[in-house]
Every structure is written in structure tokens, then in C-alpha cells.
């Protein structure tokens, strides 16, 4: 795909997102209503497609400075989430329904995994995917969910309910405004954490 075409695609995706947001936020009557999980989920459920760049920083005990990686994220309702890491090494992670496809190395080698086989991976992925899908049931199946803040600046705190996941992940904090995600922060049980920040391509 040429970069022009990609930009075009991003513009369409962005437009879709903005329209969806506009529909949700336009009536002033909602502005002073309390910001609740159902309300927030409704907002996400209306977004069928979104694209963004991301920068991810990992803070590991074994390292004295954070590790940085970056790439693109793409979401297509109801279940397709694609994470392409471009730096420092190209790697593609595609989640579609119950399946994860990983492509890495040169030449790219593809592996397909069932989400159900790797509970830890599933918990990670559903934290973002179920949020984007506006699917509170799935979120609550894996996590104790708490929502803080306002529509303009909210934070979703997810604590694993499964003990095996709990032994590895302390909590996941997702923050954003309306139906967009700004950061995803994963805190591991051993204190290591990673922070993924979305970078908006403002036109």
C-alpha cells in the first residue's frame, strides 16, 4: 500500500470515528450526566473502525531505562485488532475473533494461536479489545472493572479476576476521552510495567 493510500485510509477511519463521536457528544443534555461504564461502552460500541499510531515504553527492573517501541494499531468492529510494531523490529500481531496471528522475522513467519490456549495473552488482548468493542460483559469476565473520571478524561482500571493472571498482572489502566483511548498501562505483579500511548495524526 502506498503511503498516500494509507493516509487516505486513516482519514476515512478518523472521519468515521469523529462522526461517531459527534453523534454521541452533540446533544448538550448528556454533558452534565454522570459518566458511567454503560454509557462509555455505548460510545465505544458505536465506533466501527479506528486507526492510530502508538508508542510503547516498557519499564523493566532489569533495565535502567525504558525500552521504546512504536507502530500502528487498527480496530475494526466487532473483533479485529491489529498491532503492527515498526520499531525497533517489524512484527505483526493480528487478533480476529478467537485467533491470534503473529508474524515476525525475515522472511516473515506466521504462527496462529487460539486465544483460549493462552489465558495471559487473552487477558491482555481483551482488556483493549473488549473496551474498543464496547463489550462490558467480556471485560467483566476477565477483570474487576472500575471507572474513574469524566467523559473528557476517564480512567478504566482493570484488575484480573483469574488467579493465574493475577500472579503475573497487577492491573491494567486504560485512559481516554469519550470513545477514544489515549493510554494503556500494564502493571505486572513484579512491578515491571509498560505504557502504550496513542499518537493522533491530527489532520
Amino acid at each position: 500500500m502506498t503511503s498516500g493510500a494509507r493516509r487516505e485510509l486513516l482519514r476515512v477511519a478518523l472521519a468515521t470515528t469523529l462522526i461517531a463521536l459527534g453523534v454521541r457528544t452533540a446533544p448538550a443534555a448528556y454533558a452534565d450526566t454522570r459518566w458511567t461504564l454503560p454509557r462509555m461502552m455505548e460510545g465505544f460500541a458505536a465506533v466501527t473502525s479506528a486507526r492510530t499510531r502508538f508508542v510503547e515504553r516498557k519499564f523493566l527492573h532489569m533495565l535502567d531505562r525504558p525500552l521504546e517501541s512504536s507502530g500502528t494499531l487498527a480496530w475494526d468492529a466487532p473483533s479485529r485488532l491489529e498491532k503492527i510494531t515498526l520499531q525497533p523490529k517489524r512484527e505483526r500481531l493480528l487478533v480476529e475473533r478467537e485467533r491470534v496471528t503473529v508474524e515476525r522475522g525475515t522472511p516473515p513467519k506466521r504462527r496462529t494461536l487460539a486465544l483460549g490456549d493462552i489465558p495471559l495473552l487473552r487477558a491482555f488482548i481483551e482488556s483493549i479489545r473488549a473496551t474498543l468493542a464496547g463489550d462490558p460483559d467480556t471485560l467483566q469476565r476477565f477483570y474487576e472493572v472500575t471507572l474513574e473520571g469524566t467523559a473528557e478524561h476517564w480512567t478504566l482500571v482493570l484488575r484480573p479476576s483469574d488467579s493465574r493472571t493475577k500472579s503475573l498482572v497487577h492491573q491494567i489502566r486504560i485512559s481516554g476521552a469519550h470513545a477514544t483511548i489515549a493510554t494503556v498501562e500494564i502493571e505486572q505483579a513484579d512491578g515491571d510495567r509498560s505504557v502504550m500511548t496513542m499518537v493522533r495524526d491530527d489532520p
Binding site: 516498557k58 527492573h61 532489569m62 535502567d64 517501541s69 498491532k83 525497533p88 504462527r111
Partner: protein, 774 residues
Amino acid sequence: MTRKFLPIAVWILVIAAAAVVISRTRFSADLSAFLPRQPTAAQQLLVDQLHDGVVSRLVLAGISGAAPDQLAGASRALSERLRRDGRFVRVDNGDASQTERESAFVFDHRYALSPAIDAQHFSAASLRAALEDALELLASPAGLAAKALVQADPTGEVLLVTDRMAGAGHPATHDGVWISADATEALLVLQTRAPGFDIDTQEATLVALRAAFDEVRRAAGNAGLTLALTGPAVFAVQSRAGIKGDAIRFSSLATAMVALLLSITFRSPRALALGMVPVVSGATVGIAAVSLRFGEVHGITLGFGATLIGEAVDYAIYLFMQTDARRGAGGTLERIWPTLRLGVMTSICGFSALLLSGFPGLSQLGLFSIAGLVTAALVTRFVLPSLLPSRFAITGVERPGAMVRRAFERARVLRPLIALAVVVALAVLFSRDRLWNDELSSLSPVRTSDQLLDQRLRGGLGAADVRHLVVARATGPDEALALAEKVGVALDRAQADGYLAGYESPAQVLPSGRTQLQRRDSLPDEATLRRNLDTASAGLPFRKGTFEPFIDAVRQARDAPLLDRAALAGTAFGIRLDALLAHHAGGWSAMLPLTGVTDPAGIARALAGLHDAHVILLDTKAESDALYGTYLRDALLLSLAGAGAIVILLGATLRTPRRVLAVCMPLAAAVLVATAALVALGQTLTIFHLVGMLLVVAVGSNYALFFDRALVDGIEARTALSLALANTTTVIGFGMLAFSDAPVLVAIGSTVGVGAFLSLVFAAALAPREAVRS
């Protein structure tokens, strides 16, 4: 009375003795019968491999007919069942979950197993490169999960060893199990415990495999799931079943038709039953003779031998049809015996050529045929007349006999046509570059669709191509492993040059003691390692103390005992090792199956650099083709010699060149035209066609000899009819086989069916005028 019963008593005694011998006979399917008496090392290896080798135990399986999720589930369920079943020594579906024990083994012994370990591997420079790679891994999405492994194994030995052990081919995976690139077929590699030669046990193993799959399919509740199997074991079982099935089906049909024809003609159930006595007696004595001379009887001898003595069926027909009330059976025999005797001797000349072959398989065949035919002829001569009802005569044969005789008389008009046919036949035969197919696969009863399935699964799995194999032989297991390592170095070079895609080696699973020692000795002491690590991590973000698990592991590896075969026992690696490292009479053999060979000559050059006669690159296809080629040439030359012997025999008996020519010409013409017809129809000739031609000569010589005998009085109506009847039964019996799916049966059936018919027509057409006058 004595004169009448003595032959019967002798016959019963001989048959009883033969039966005793047969009851103690070992029937083998041993491929060494196809080895020349002085085999080369490669030929011997080839036969050993086919007999008992790794590849002869390989079964590739594909499950299709459902969505990828369901296929993966079925693959898991099937593997789980088969791993509990002792009949399989290897069940591989790509599923990683079974290898927890194996993963632990690789992790614990990573510094003994990793080929990367040398004196430089833990130098500051190497460690620096490794740590930079580790940072990239940590930055990737897998980073959080890889943290622990990076700390214990920053140089990535576990990944390297696991990758190499996974074999050269890496199929795609779906839900963790192997799947074809288009995700329509889940793939499995199985290895049977039963060796390749033990077709009975392999068959039972495959039955158990299919039963296990049926259970999986039932449990899945999807009747659309299908299992496709391929591999040498599957082919062997299928072809045996196919040939057996076809042979039984077509032979029963042919037998029923012949029996119907004969019972209409003989109108005597007793005569019908007696007609089989010479053949059955011949086969019995034939088997016993081979057993006494060779100590065992090969399955092939039985199959072909029964065909070759098919001539004996005709003896009874000649006797019964030509017997009339006036002369009785005894009188008739006295009359036709000289002709039958000469016919038998002619056939013996043809078959005795086989007896002298350098291949035990061919000489068994020769002995069987000769002993069988002689017995059948003697039984016809001395036993049958006594068993026939007195005054046995077949009535109502005069009219049809006369019709046949008239037809024979008119056959002369065909002479120009025969001349033309022979010319065309010669043109066809000489225009072919490759008349005889000397590739062993031409004998393969494997259907093209099965061959395609095999290619598909093999391609999908990246499995060893079964064709190329390096065998390294040594006195002990450790020496064989050491040699396999040297071979591995040469193969790595050949792989880098693009001559092959990969290979498996027992040394990947268990390095030789020497190599393990070298690796252990090259591990640095703790102080050196710490110093190197410090230097390497300068400027990198790793905190001090991160790699303590790594330092501990290296320290422990320096003191660890060497791995041996016992250490692998009970793991999947132990089973793999047993498959690739075999004990035999002369010592130990390491086997290295090759994958994706593109340039065998390049590989051979790389191996020649080792200057070791104990390393042999075995191209099983080229080697077996060469072996079969020798076998075929041997048989062809001997058959030509047999033809020469027949001409000499006939010359000595018939005395005048005209009579010899009248007997030989129709036979030669019939063989030529029949062969050319099959070639023109697209068959390439194999050893089965040659067997068919020998039979045409054996059967056809009788026709020509009866015409020769009729030189004095002209042919009798009864004789004419007996020839037509004998011919019809032969054409039905063999022609039927031509409709089979098995190439073996098609070759023999079509050659004999067409050849025998032409022999009779040509014999009548080319007979001297006085032989066929009314």
C-alpha cells in the same frame, strides 16, 4: 490293477510329502531376494532401509473436511489417543503442550545440546551481540513473557536447540498444531513401531489408527471429517490389499466364467474337478521344491509362479477334449503325449534361463515353474486317465470342431496381414527410445492419486523426502554420533550452498561424547564470564545482577555429567534418537534423512570431502532403479538365451528347418505384435510384461506343436476344438486381469490375453497347408 494304481499311489505320496514340506516352509517377503548375490554396500543399505529403516515406518496423516478450529481439535484428540497407543513410536502434530518434559530437558541441557557453543561463544563480543538481540526481544510484544528466559539464557540457546530439533520443515500452525498453508488440512507425522517389512503388523497399526480417528470423528459429531494417510507403510499395505483384492475379484470372475464354459463343454462335474488336478499338484510340488532348495519361498515366487504354470490348465483340456469313446483316455494320451512332452520341454527351456539368474528371486521363479510344469505334465500323463470315468468321452464336439477346423483352414488368408502387422510392430518397437521402463516406480502399484496425496502432505509438512538419506556407520553408538556430526558439518555447508533445505541427525538430539566435552570445556569459569558480561553490557540498559540465573546455569553446566542415551530414555528425544541411530550386526548406523534436495551431486561432493568410506549418500530411488535395471536386464538376457535354447531343442526334435520355422514363427510374431500393441497403447514394458511373454511362449508353443503334429493326417476336429477351448480359457483368465487397477495385474493380463490369442491365430495361419486340410 497294480499298473493302474501305482501312479496314483506315487502321486498321493509325493503330494503328501510336498504338503509336509510346505507346512514347514517359511514364506518371506524379504526384499533381499531382489539383491544380487554379491550386493554393493549401497544396495545392501537400500534393502536394509526398505526392510527396517526410519523412512519405511513413516506415516503422514492429514485431517480435512471442517473449519480450521475443528481440524485443530481433531488433530489434538487423535494425537492424544495415538500417544497412548504403543503401536506408534512418534506422534507429532506440532502441538507444543506435549513437550513440557522435553522443554525442561532442552532448558536443563542447553549448553550440552547447543551447536553454537564454542570457545568464542561467551566472549565479550559475542555476549554484546546477544544482549543487543535480547533487548529487541524484550521490546517486542512477546517481551513481557520473555523476561525470565532472557535472564537465564541471554544467548538464546534454548530457542536455537528447539528450532533445530523441530526438524527442517516448519509447517504453519493453527491453534498450535500443524496445518496446511491454505488451512484446510491438519497435518501429523507418525512413526510406527512395526518395521517396514512387517506388513501384517503395519496393517494392524493402520487399522488401529483409522479406528482411533473414527472415535475422534464421532466425538466431534462431524461426519465430514476425513483422514488421509500416506507414507511407505501405507503404500505397502494398500498395494498388497489392492493386488490381493483385485487378484481375488478378477480371478474369481474369470474362474467362474471358465468353469461355466468348461462345464457346458465337458458336461461332467467330475471332469471339471479333475481338470484342476494337474495345476494344483504342480503348484504344490513347485512350492516344496523351492522350499527345499532355497530354505524359504518368496511371496513373489508364489504369485508369478502360479501364473507361469497356467499352461498346465490346458493339459487337461487337451486330454479331455481329444478323448473319444473309441480310443479312451489312455489311447488319446499315447497319441498326444509326444506333443505335450515337447511343449513341456519347450517351456522348461524358457524357464530354466531364470534358474541361472544372479537374483535369488528370479531363480526361485525358474525352479518353481519347472518343477510345477513337470509335475503337472506327469500327473496328466499317468494319474488323470485312471481317475476319469471309464468310457469318458465328450460328445457333440464334431460339429463345432469342424467349424473351428474350417476357420483354421481359412486362417491362411491372414498371412499378408500378419506380415504387415509384424513390420508395423517392429517399426513401433524400434521407434521407442525407451522400450523398457527401468525405474522401479513403474512397478509401483501405487495409484497416481495416492502419489499426489503423498506429495501434498510431504510438501505441507516439509517432511524428509524419503528419497535421500546419509548413512554413517561405525563400531559403537558414540562413534556413529561423532561421524554424524562430521557429516552434519558437510551438510551445513551444502545447505548454505543451496543443495538441500535441511536434514535431521541423531547428533542434534544427542551430541557425541567428544563434542559434549568440547562444549563443556569451552564454557568460561565464573570470573571470566562475569568479566565478559560486564564488558558486553557496558552502555546497555541492563542492571547489574540481571543475569545471575545465566551465570549459575553456566557454572552448573561446567560440572554436569555428559548426556548419554539413558538420559534421553522416556522422552520424545529418546524415541527420535532410536529411530535415527540403529544397532545392527556390523555395528551402529546413524541415519540423516535429507529434506528438499535440489542438487544430489553437490551433496555428494560435500560428503566426498570427508574421505570416509563409512559415510554413504543413499539415493533410494536411483539405487533401487539401478538395482531393478540390473534385474530387468538380467531377466531379459536370460529370456533371450531361453529362446535360443528353445530353437535348438525344436531343431533337435523336429529335425527339418521348415517344421522348426512353422513352430517358432507364430510364437515370435505373436510376442512381437502383442508387445507392440501394448506399447502403442501407451504401456512401457516392465518385468511383469516379460513374465507375460514367457507364458505366451509356453502356452503358444503347444498350439504350434499340435499343428506340427497334424502334418501327417491333418488336424482332427476334436484337436481343433481343444485348441480353441484352451485358448478361450487362457484369454478369459488373463484378459480379465487387464481390467484391474493394479499395474502388475494389468501388465501380465494384457500381455498374456493378447499374446495367447494371437499365438493361436498366427499358428493356424502360418501352419503348413497339409496340417490344416480337412
